[in-house]
Amino acid sequence: MLSEAAIKELNEIRQKYPDASAALLPALYIAQREFGYLGADAYEAVSNALGVPKAIARGVGTFYAMYKHKPMGRHVVQLCTNVSCMILGAEKLSDFLKNKYGLEPGGTTPDKRFSLVIMECIGACGTAPAMLLNDDFYENLTEKYIEEILEKYK
């Protein structure tokens, strides 16, 4: 079940499109926020709210990389390893996250503090290597800088 606030938000978003189904992507974002990830409950809630068949909602949800289909840590490290970042050492940073924090790509630390997601280009190539941590950009990363950043996220 979606919270009342979420339903209200969804109804407002719904008004921005001529078709209810166009609100599916935003609705899935809301459901992901509410449920933590998109499981059967989340899809059913969205399906009921918008009248999109649930199998279709799930088909759409699984198409997009930013919808999560399992529980995530409290903070999500989204490290870019595409070409510009790769040639400037992003893969080493990924190794560093693994060795230092036990953070494997796609994995979550046992204390649920961090999850690591490997991203395709995040549009910070000029300041590569870069990552998003939750909604914030961190650029020109080094191992030391990553340590400092992660320190801020409890």
Binding site: K16, Y17, P18, D19, S21, A22, A23, L24, L25, P26, L28, Y29, L50, V52, G59, V60, F63, Y64, A65, M66, Y67, Q78, T81, N82, V83, S84, M86, I87, L88, M119, E120, C121, I122, G123, A124, C125, G126, T127, A128, L132, D135, D136, F137
Partner: protein
């Protein structure tokens, strides 16, 4: 030259409507409303403006097609998916100069008769999402968006729609599908979006940078604008440079600036004085160029003549320490991940190419692998539903074309000599 697209962006408040107005923003809008919509399109036609999203399609032509369709309402979509790796040119506009885009969209909407606009923003730009929403709210407050803009009876509404992580949604028909709440898979053409686009209505899709050029065209006129940059392909262009240069970043320069100049003049040359090995001129799916092929004017008309494409103007510079097999492999890994899966050659071929490249890079390549790469990519090229699959095939062919020895070396030595 004074910056236009990136004007005032060093000012921390540049995204605020008052700052934007202070430096001359929202002056083109009332000016545009004095003209008839057709006159604006005419002006854009004179300007020679081409789309900045990658394909370089003449903007006015697209608008005219949409105008000619009588279905109602019409939609203007701003392509802010900026997914081509290496590209980060739209982001400064979205984050620092959102009102320029809004102003451009209101004018463009007026020109084509669209009363509704959506900005399809890539999911990976959460910051820009909030900034755009704030800017749109301010524009509504200032009567620059709404049912009766500036009291002139002109209606335009604007909504930001967040994508959710799919490169293919940058392709305009996939973008439309995605905006409708579907999987981002390209649509059949015809019918073209200008006739049957989003919600089955006539739709114009333009890139952020394209739309952000409109206020300048209104300000100085089409003719004047056409004098900027390349005569074949005029205007301002944002080049975004990354990789091994001294000063990576986004550069606002006249269209047609020579690639070598971008790297050596504007970006301060190769980092740490190393040797240049290869340049990707327009995002990772555009053909890679060896160091002796970079004296080319970076515009839509001239780049193909020099064996590549302008693409999104995303220049990635690689020095002698970079393994190109690895870059090629990473590119295919990306394209495999982003293939929408609709058509057979791309869905199956990207993965196959990636796996061959993977074994070569890992030192497990065997004789015949290069021919296999060429044959498999040949079976894709020209047979896919949309340009993504073609791009994957041409990437492989171009790396082999210019750097075959590097592939051979990997196979012969059974290892990658780069770190």
């Amino acid at each position: 030259m004074e910056k236009v697209l990136l004007k005032n962006i060093d000012n921390p408040n540049s995204a605020d409507i008052n700052e934007y107005k202070r430096v001359g923003g929202y002056r083109s809008l009332p000016k545009a409303f004095e003209d008839k919509p057709q006159e604006i399109t005419e002006m854009v036609k004179k300007s020679g403006l081409r789309g900045r999203g990658g394909a370089g399609f003449p903007v006015a032509m697209k608008w005219l097609f949409a105008c000619a369709d009588t279905k109602f309402p019409k939609y203007l979509l701003c392509n802010a998916d900026e997914g081509e790796p290496g590209t980060f040119k739209d982001r400064p506009i979205l984050e620092k100069n959102p009102h320029l885009l809004i102003e451009g969209m209101v004018i463009s909407g007026y020109a084509i008769g669209a009363q509704y606009g959506y900005i399809y923003l890539r999911g990976e730009y959460p910051g820009a999402y909030h900034i755009l929403n704030r800017a749109i709210a301010q524009a509504y407050e200032n009567n620059l968006l709404g049912d009766n803009i500036l009291g002139k009876g002109i209606k335009f509404h604007l909504v930001v729609h967040r994508g959710a992580g799919a490169y293919i949604c940058g392709e305009e028909t996939a973008l439309i599908e995605s905006l409708e709440g579907n999987k981002g898979q390209p649509r059949m053409r015809p019918p073209f979006p200008v006739n049957v686009g989003v919600f089955a209505k006539p739709t114009v899709v333009n890139n952020v940078e394209t739309l952000s050029n409109i206020p300048l065209i209104i300000e100085i006129g089409g003719e004047e604008y056409s004098k900027i940059g390349s005569p074949d392909c005029p205007g301002l262009k944002l080049y975004c440079v990354s990789g091994y240069v001294e000063k990576p970043g986004v550069y606002e320069l006249p269209m047609g600036t020579i690639l070598r100049d971008i790297i050596y003049k504007h970006c301060g040359g190769i980092k740490d004085g190393k040797n240049l090995k290869a340049v990707i001129p327009g995002g990772i799916t555009t053909p890679v160029l060896p160091p002796d092929k970079i004296d080319c004017p970076m515009d839509f008309v001239n780049m193909p003549k020099h064996g590549s494409m302008l693409g999104s103007g995303a220049v990635i510079v690689m020095d002698e320490t970079v393994c190109l097999v690895r870059v090629c492999h990473r590119t295919l890994k990306f394209l495999e991940h982003e293939s929408c899966g609709k058509c057979t050659p791309c869905r199956e071929g990207t993965g196959w190419l990636r796996s061959i490249l993977e074994r070569i890079e890992n030192g497990a390549g065997v004789e015949g692998d290069i021919e296999l790469l060429l044959s498999v990519s040949g079976n894709m090229l020209g047979k896919t539903f949309c340009p993504l699959g073609d791009g994957a095939a041409s990437v492989v062919q171009n790396y082999i074309k210019h750097f075959r020895n590097e592939f051979e070396e990997h196979i012969k030595n059974g290892e990658c000599k780069y770190e």
